[in-house]
């Protein structure tokens, strides 16, 4: 190895290091802890460029389950949280980690199942459907990851008067992963799974699955946004974070959300509290 080669190698490695070194400059960016469903459905892919064009603020999205997103914020590692599990969000607020909660939009869940429909639930309401699945022991995939979808699923079992913690058997598969992974697993084992509509529409690996139950009011899924409390973590970028929240609930942001469609279908229905109402 000549000196020239070593020099070249060193230059390459130094260049690599320089490109990943931390920048001291005050960059206009915020970290938003959100859910895998908002990422996987493509909503952020649609919204963030519009926000950046208007405000020149980079939004860095960490997509985790709702529970994990709130925990990230509790550690001060995010500026804003955007999740969909109202009870968990209110607990977060009560603990003093959030400033104020705003409704942003809702989408809905759908119960996905195999075309063969072993539990015979197609077209029924969600309560009846869940009861049938549990009674027949039909394979059911649960997110099992403290996510908003997981919380909603648990709430639905409860509404159906089923104590899932004791009633679950080998038919109930908790995988502790995101929505895409849950759908993959359901496709592979021809089972039922609760999914948000947005992820389902963009999901390509459907196998033998189709929508079994939809439209039930109990399947509506509310998203909320909160600024992480700068009194707990002075490092929170409160002006930039608030700018993002303000935009989401503004007429412009709400219109952008409504505009987002996959295959011509609107996925998210904005419902922020209108000012002055």
């Amino acid at each position: 190895m000549t000196f020239r080669f070593s020099a070249l190698l060193s230059a390459l490695l130094l260049g690599a290091i320089a490109s990943v070194a931390p920048t001291r400059a005050q960059d206009r960016s915020i970290v938003v802890a959100s859910t895998t469903s908002t990422q996987d459905s493509g909503l952020f892919g649609h919204l963030l460029p519009l926000f950046k064009a208007k405000t020149n603020i980079d939004v860095k999205v960490i997509a985790q389950g709702t529970g994990q997103a709130l925990d990230t914020a509790r550690r001060g590692d995010a500026d804003v949280v955007f999740v969909h599990a109202k009870s968990q969000e209110e607990k977060f607020l009560a603990e003093g980690f959030g400033v104020k909660r705003f409704d942003v939009t809702y989408n809905d869940f759908v119960l996905i199942g195999p075309k063969g429909d072993p539990a015979g639930i197609k077209g029924k309401d969600i309560e009846t459907a869940l009861k049938a699945i549990q009674a027949k022991g039909a394979p059911f995939v649960s997110r099992g990851d403290k996510s908003g979808t997981h919380s909603a699923e648990l709430a639905l079992w409860k509404q159906a008067d089923i104590d899932i913690a004791t009633a679950k058997g080998p038919w109930y598969r908790e995988i502790g992963q995101g929505m895409g992974a849950a759908l993959n697993t359901a496709a592979a084992m021809n089972g039922y799974v609760l999914s948000d509509r947005g992820t389902w529409i963009s999901f390509r690996n459907r196998g033998d699955l189709e929508i079994a139950v939809e439209g039930d009011r109990r399947l509506f899924n509310q998203y909320g946004v909160m600024l992480v409390n700068p009194e707990k973590y002075p490092s929170v970028k409160k002006e930039l974070g608030q700018a993002f929240i303000d935009w989401l609930i503004s007429a412009e942001g709400q219109a952008a959300i409504a505009d987002y469609k996959i295959d011509g279908q609107q996925l998210f229905f904005p419902n922020a509290e209108k000012k002055g109402s």
Partner: protein, 230 residues
């Protein structure tokens, strides 16, 4: 990145998002390899050349640490760099810098252990001559490290390979943020979880091809150099 296109179409069309991901993967793993070598090679040489009580246990420990699970390293670094952690004020969580730190920690053991073995073997050969020339401890380290440079390049590649292949550490400390901390491995994990299996596989193959190319280039350089310098 559009979902429907295969990975190869993305490459051929010069998709900027894909190239950004590849660039970041290489920058992070190459940086980690360089920084790890800076620490690990002198450490390995030191272990090879010195004798002190507990040396044997340290050597065994170093060999064992080669198997550090990436996700555990990632978690440890996350807890260190979190705002509520001791180094939170640095503010580098969820940035490429954090990813480099995690990967550097991950691969120091493998580079150090390989260096130690190489230098120890070479010392056995050089011992008489270097002692006869009255070469001091620092001189020995420098001479042996330079003369062992081909084997050390292999050790560097081994470290780079381990870094480029892992996903656990960079996922946790980087956050897989689109456009900022998404690497090839985290992109593969993401596309898999979304059900885009063909795209995920394609990305995986691109990663393998790149790592193979780097290894081939290094090996070719070594062969060429050996012909020059023996």
């Amino acid at each position: 990145m559009p979902d429907q296109l295969s990975a190869w179409q993305l490459i051929l069309s010069g998709d900027p998002a894909l190239f950004a991901i590849v660039k970041l993967s290489l920058a992070v793993s190459l940086s980690a390899a360089a920084l790890a070598a800076l620490v690990a090679m002198p450490l390995g040489a030191l272990l090879a050349l010195t004798r002190f009580p507990g040396r044997f246990s340290l050597v065994v420990l170093l060999n064992a640490l080669m198997g550090l699970p990436p996700v555990v390293v990632g978690l440890a670094v996350y807890l260190l760099l979190s705002r509520s952690g001791p180094l939170g004020a640095m503010g580098i969580l969820f940035t490429p810098s954090a990813m480099v730190i995690a990967q550097t920690i991950l691969i120091v053991p493998i580079i150090a252990a390989l260096t130690r073995q190489t230098v120890e073997d070479l010392w056995a050969e050089y011992r008489d001559e270097l002692t006869a020339m009255d070469v001091g401890p620092a001189g020995r380290m420098a001479t042996l490290l330079w003369d062992a440079r081909y084997s050390l390049l292999t050790a560097l590649l081994a470290g780079f390979g381990r870094a480029a292949a892992e996903v656990g550490a960079v996922m946790i400390v980087g956050g897989n943020i689109e456009g900022f901390t998404r690497t090839m491995t985290t992109a593969v994990a993401l596309e898999t979880s979304k059900g885009n299996l063909p795209l995920a596989m394609g990305l995986g193959l691109v990663l393998v091809a790149i790592v193979l190319a780097i290894n081939a280039a290094a090996w070719g350089t070594r062969v060429w150099s050996e012909r020059q310098v023996g």
